[in-house]
Symmetry: D2
Subunit: 345 residues, 4 copies
């Protein structure tokens, strides 16, 4: 059994890691840390975990974390970068579920995240952990930046089009809708049930931190800077991201061929499901699972493609993708611990 | 007191008309019809109306309807067109909340609604009841086609841009999200709480009936055929439509001037609220009210405008707009009965 | 026009007072206070109020409040008691929506609320503002304690039974369910959408602060100390309280007579709706309105009565009842400003 | 691998059986039937099952069902009783998830279910499949009646008290709250999102079909007829049942001893979690899992006990309990296929 530790275990990505790892056949959680809850049993805070873990929260010391084969940082932005250098040097592999290592461009990162980076060299070394793009690099990595939730849904939806140079990359639109868990477990007025339920709104239209992440990654793929309009929305549900993407075709296209190309592109990627042409993926069809479902549309046969992509933001958009990356980094079976059926209804 | 009748009173638009008319100072409901519920008291089916109406459902005979000054059809598509001729000829004004009279092009209507039209000449006569466009024509009309919910939200968001020739009208995108009440009160599996709650999906991407309605109206405004990609989504809430629209600018723009232009465009329209530049309207901020809130964005100062528009689909998107049209047609104060505060939270 | 002021305007009861008073024909809001938001426009925080109030939050000084005919305290427990003495002495009437003046027994109050009372004499003077019991006293009062939400629903359901000595008062059970807005607008983890939605739980079974309030009031009515088991639950909705009450009959009963007795008891109380025998009131049937709907059941003709009672916790359970009390205290029409139709669906 | 078939696969219990059986290590689904959907692939109707089953719906012929080791009836009441005799005679074991075999008293059954019973002798033979009571009998059974959802939650909460003769069995109250999935996947107006969301109500107070089931089972346990008031409520969530039970103590009690007695009672039952004294189980803490969480309270140290019990109505209240019974009947490991983590949030 491999040993893993979780830093920052009281947020939704932390508890979701515990849910997934509780049934992982080859990994055990040797430590979970939380400064605020140190000393308390995990199951006191999360009754859904009762009987699963005999584990109390501890302080995030390097001594404790150093005993693990791999450490997950399920912490706010800016935390992992302060502790990663020491762990990596000690031979402990690291996956950061926050944004500290997601960018190639350190200055861009500092601009969007409003702080200096504590270990810019590691940012360069870090592998962007979207297995559908970087599986081999992740297998060899000692530090992986787990992608953002919106970037995961958007990239999986658009990659085949960009890789095959089929669309105008200067005018991509990603209209994205997220459940409230994307805002985390922090006690914020905007995340209250009475503020977020039975209502719908856009937010951060002027510029969301996932915009530069998506742009950078799509630009790497395109070999040129892409033009992207990204509008995130808050939708009154707990889990789920639905991305509706609009792209201008470069020329005529056979949709059956495009469908086949998508299926081929993701044939070796067990967590992407290319649905039949013209399908409408529902977020509940991936609830609790690590699957991304994608569907293609060409409304009225026109020159605008509509690509739909649905994930569970806490699984494929966070903890599940992190476990996937962990499996790759530790040489385990790719799907280990992730063969969880979606919960529907 | 003017007398009005409602045909098809058991759906959501019917009961919403009752809610609004219960407090209308100059109108009384003289009849409400439902074949399936004939004989039952309104308040037996709708306990929220207890004590408000001493009114039983009746059969929709012309004798009963002929006593009204104005008749609302809150019926499925294809019903109003069969009864309107006789009413109009008898001097009774008619507002159809369904789609029977929304199009100018009868053939297009037949194509999308899958039936022949029973009175094509009246379709030509009918005024499209979006008061923000056709206020004077509505005042003079004897037959008004109440606009669809999506078309209302989208047109109010886009009209100033098209009227002033500011955007590329061949590449408009309207990504729209509706609450479940838009699907009506029919017992359909897809509208069950267990199917629609805590999930999000697109639907009818291949072509929704509101697409030709929006295109026709925007084309009238533009003086040329517009190009529109329209994707509706189902969002897990009861009421509300949020439209996120993307438009390419024809050239450089001063957003403060555009904001001023929007405010001027809607200055005489009491139910449109142009929010401050960069706002994010929430559907709950219009819940239960006849208001449409609009906000403008130019993300990163680029050439793509984002326009946000929020309405309550049952009010401004249906029954409230119908009462607004009724006020205009009967020569009443424009806002009579519609000064209802939004219910938030 | 009478002038009223609101202290503590940023919580749900504060904004709900604004919603109701915006349409009140004889009252205007002259001031609303909030230390944290002083200087900001009301509509900046509550977009649903845009265009309704040209009012900025101020500091809660006695100078400002002293200009009002009546002041509402929509503040946390323990705030009103510090400022009420001065206002009342200056001739300003006061309604506290919190618990500072709800008890007769000051020691009991201190025990449950964990603080000393700042003006115990005023607590004795204060009238408990349940108009269905104390209408005349409220009309004469200068200080009214607005009842708690659960106590309102429970008392209206049980009063006729106790007044007529029909039930065993030592074994009453009140199983109550509240929407999340009952927890207020404070940023607490337990009120987050992701914690409270799509789940159901009991809370505070060991003893909720509304238990002594209900017991004291029912005991006053019974003329002896009653025995009550009160279990509150959190239900995943925004507004609404549903109380299910179980009472043992003292002897045989004719349910039609009991029904008639309930109807007679509340005949002069416009905000209580005694539904037909055997009805099931839904909270949505009172959403946004000041109505309490009550229904009686005698399952299988046995000796246990089941009484159902539904209110909107923010209206009849808080702000609406406060406006009702205000109307009585200021000599206005009892229903002024409160003839709001429920919003359903 | 054992083979099982599912009759009536398009309802929520049917698809939930598929979810659970998809990961069962020792069982494969050899057939699933639906008259209305015969010929369609399972995953066409349930996208959440895509990639899991290569299985089309078939007609429910005895030829097909006879190939299975065990058949689940996930059908409406009155269906299983018509087909069970032939299957059982052919050596196929049967679990009925509906009510056809839940009663001992055939006349009582006919009274509540409004039809004659097609095989009264099998009703007598059938074992009531609550493993916490009848584990050994289930192991030996060829026909098991899977308990109702409410009866499961209520019995697990009350059994230890009744078995140890601690409470007044003539005055038990069970105030129960269910998510909407309990009403099934039938297209009924009352189950629509717009009818059931954001609202709360009691229903069937006069008498719900689970009342006689609970009474009969508790009476068997008590050795005398018990007196029960049972009030079910509809709560706006998808899954979950929360039972709040009130029982009068026969005499003084030590709550720590009672707690220990509950823990001992359920020590050998892996799907019952007796939470620490004074806990408040949330339905989400068992969402998607087969666990029943129970907690004990003695409010204010009085003579009324409050017992809280939470299950997922589709799992422990239906499909999960059926799989548990299947494991027992087929001699498999008791927990096989049921070690599913709750999905929270």
């Amino acid at each position: 059994m491999k040993k893993v530790a979780i830093v920052g275990g009281t947020g939704y990505t932390g508890v979701e890691l515990l849910r997934l790892l509780a049934r992982h056949p080859e990994v055990e959680v040797c430590a979970i840390t939380s400064r605020s809850e140190a000393g308390r049993q995990v199951s006191d805070i999360y009754p859904s975990l009762r009987g699963e873990f005999d584990l109390a929260f501890t302080e995030p010391t390097n001594e404790i974390l150093g005993q693990a084969d791999l450490v997950f940082f399920a912490t706010p932005n800016g935390v992992a970068m302060k502790q990663t250098r020491e762990l990596v040097d000690a031979g402990v592999k690291v996956i950061d579920l926050a944004a500290d290592f997601r960018f190639d461009d350190v200055d861009e990162w500092s601009k969007w995240y409003g702080m200096d980076h504590a270990c810019a060299d590691l940012m360069v070394e870090a592998v962007y952990g979207l297995p559908e793009v970087n599986k081999q690099a992740v297998q060899a990595a000692r530090l992986v930046a787990n992608p953002g939730c919106y970037p995961t849904a958007v990239q999986i939806g658009l990659l085949p089009l960009i890789e095959q140079n089929l669309i105008d990359t200067q005018n991509i639109i990603a209209d994205c809708k997220s459940g409230v868990s994307g805002a985390g477990r922090g006690a914020a007025v905007g995340s209250l049930m009475c503020e977020a339920a039975d209502s719908f709104k856009a937010y951060a239209v002027a510029g969301h931190r996932h915009l530069p992440e998506i742009k950078e990654r799509l630009s790497v793929c395109a070999g040129e800077s892409v033009g992207l309009t990204f509008v995130p929305h808050l939708t009154p549900m707990i889990r789920g991201i639905h991305a509706t993407m609009y792209a201008k075709l470069q020329g005529p296209i056979d949709m059956n061929e495009l469908q086949a190309a998508y299926e081929a592109r993701y044939a070796d990627h067990p967590f992407v499901d290319v649905m039949p042409l013209g399908s409408h993926p529902e977020t509940r069809s991936v609830r609790g699972s690590n699957i991304c479902r994608v569907a293609l549309h060409q409304p009225q046969g026109g020159d605008t493609l509509v690509i739909l992509s649905a994930i569970d933001n806490l699984v494929k958009g966070a903890a599940g993708q992190a476990v996937h990356n962990m499996n790759l980094m530790l040489g385990l079976e790719e799907k280990a611990g992730l063969e969880i059926m979606p919960l529907s209804p």
